[in-house]
Amino acid sequence: MNDIRVDECACDGVGNAYRPWPARITSIQDLTEKEKLFELRLIDPEVREAFKFHAGQFAEISIFGVGEAPISISSAPSKQGFIELCVRNTGDVTGALHKKQCGDIVGLRGPLGRGFPFEQMKGNDILLVAGGLGIAPLKSLINHIHDERHEFGKVTIMYGAKNPGEVLFRHQFDMWKHREDFDLMLTVDESDDTWDGPVGVVTKLFDQVDVDPDCTYGAICGPPVMYKYVIEEMRKKNMDVDKIYMSFERRMKCGIGKCGHCGVGHQYACIDGPVFSYWEAMNLQEAI
């Protein structure tokens, strides 16, 4: 018998699934004090070509010497060749990423996880509820819906932020609102003098919407405490448990179902999620 080397062993066709590929930062936009929007382009054309994703999926961003972090893809799958990531500076990897400049290279691995059931959602109304940074994965879905707007009925977005300074993608929302593609409802926990919209938690917005439970899909993402209350409201509107989808954040090291960190109930957030239906989530201990 001879030695075997990893690079000789036939893996799943894409080579070593742990290996990040160099991607160039092609643009950086400051969104708030803590969040920046990064646009990345994989350098190797073959790898770039193979990077086909769905809304709700994520990628592992790698900065060698610092580590990796899972980040939701914010851009629409229909946008080819580039991906957008909306990243909050909360620690080592995200902090190091925030220090990068346009033109710098980072590592990228993905797409990973199970996204929103886009095809299944078609032909229905959509109610999206985001809290804070939770807008990041939902934005991909919003963008995707936007690109195929004619396939959907009424699309409502409820978005709550801590304060007006933390509202992400405000400019883009204004644009959509203007074109009346979406019903956009923004609220903040604490207002200031730049704010003339509603004040209070995002669930308060439910009073203002009519939902047709037979043909509405829900999509939720936000801080862990938010899910329970939003679902309560959706259930009050009689939405089906298997038409409500949500994305979970858990600790992850590999993103491909091996490292064990992202266990949520009997599932793994990285491969069984991060998007779960409420029916699934109800059956996951400690999920909500």
């Binding site: 070593n16 091996k258 400690e286």
Partner: protein, 340 residues
């Protein structure tokens, strides 16, 4: 499967023969217990071992391994190869062979783990029958028998081995290195007798009825707090478990701060940071929730995916836990319903 019989005195021939082109790993003694270690001389091997301190997984997924070398300046991977040299794991008991099958499910399905796969592909497995010890409960999970996942399995018939040959490779090396003969009816009858006695030898008979249901239904049971208060969160149980596979990944820089290596190390869900995320959130902050998760994942999470529990009843965690917490005790407590 087909079978041969090998005289006991001939066994060293097999080990010596395999050593000519493999690294042979087998059980040897260490401070009164046993470890799987490279065998330099067939006489070192202790086939009467009960169980080893660490399971064979360390030879397929070492406690610490370099996944890739990198270069910081251009975020380039400079080397992500691992060289897996030909190896034999010699003398594995059925539980341990079964444990590898469980690891295979994780590492060889979905996104293939190339490091594990390279070693697995280049490892020959020679199994060995055993005698139940007081901490064994493989009988409970049917992992006291093994029908796949080995090349050769040797059942001890006293003066000879009943060799089951599972793979071409197994048949070939047996043929090449050791004199063997065809199986007679008497051999098979003795084999059955040995197996029968083996099955009688277990002292643990745990009621595992409806375990997944119990785990969900008794998720909030005080049983968990009782065990949790005695748990040191030391992670010993996970390290010695042949089926625990969780790992952590870290980057290490060279002193020049310009290049380095991405390394993975065994991790444990019993550690506090295991499920901590940014903004001070920790999904399993307290000990009891972490202890519970270990069992929850083993007896329900994994089962939900692969139709088997992630435990082979080897009893290593029972021996390793300073507080004497064991699956047997935990399952019994759950079945009983109240506190311990």
């Amino acid at each position: 499967m087909f079978f041969r019989v090998v005289d006991k005195e001939r066994l060293p021939d097999l080990i010596a023969g395999l050593s000519s082109d493999h690294e042979v790993i087998g059980p040897i003694e260490k401070d009164g217990r046993f470890v799987f270690a490279p065998i330099s001389d067939p006489s070192q091997i202790r086939l009467d071992y009960d169980t080893t301190l660490l399971p064979p997984k360390k030879w397929l997924m070492p406690p610490e391994e370099t996944m890739m070398h990198f270069n910081c300046a251009d975020e380039e991977v400079t080397d992500d190869t691992v060289v897996a040299s030909p190896r034999v794991l010699f003398g594995l008991h059925p539980c341990d062979i079964n444990s590898l099958l469980l690891l295979d499910n994780v590492f060889l399905q979905g996104h293939v783990d190339p490091y594990y796969k390279a070693r697995r592909d280049n490892t020959l497995i020679v199994g060995m029958s055993c005698t139940p010890s007081p901490t064994c409960f493989c009988n409970v999970w049917d992992t006291d028998e093994v029908h796949w996942g080995f090349d050769i399995f040797l059942t001890d018939l006293g003066d000879r081995y009943y060799a089951s040959l599972r793979t071409v490779k197994g048949a070939e090396v047996l043929d090449r290195h050791v004199d063997s003969r065809a199986v007679t009816e008497k051999d098979t009858a003795d084999f059955q007798q040995v197996v029968h006695e083996f099955k009688q030898g277990f002292s643990n008979n745990v009621d595992t009825a409806q375990l997944p249901v119990l785990l969900d239904a008794k998720f909030d049971s005080p049983v968990w707090d009782d065990f949790g208060s005695e748990c040191l969160s030391c992670g010993a149980c996970s390290m010695v478990c042949p089926t625990c596979y969780c790992f952590d990944v870290k980057d290490r820089l060279e002193v020049d701060q310009k290049s380095g290596a991405r390394v993975r190390t065994w991790d444990s869900c019993q550690f506090k940071e295991f499920a901590a995320v940014a903004h001070g959130q920790n999904f399993r902050e307290d000990r009891s929730s972490r202890l519970k998760y270990r069992y929850y994942h083993k007896y329900w999470g994994y089962l939900s995916k692969f139709e088997r529990v992630l435990c082979v009843g080897c009893g290593r965690c029972t021996l390793a836990c300073p507080s004497g917490i064991s699956p047997v005790k935990v399952i019994e407590a759950l079945q009983a319903g109240g506190s311990r």
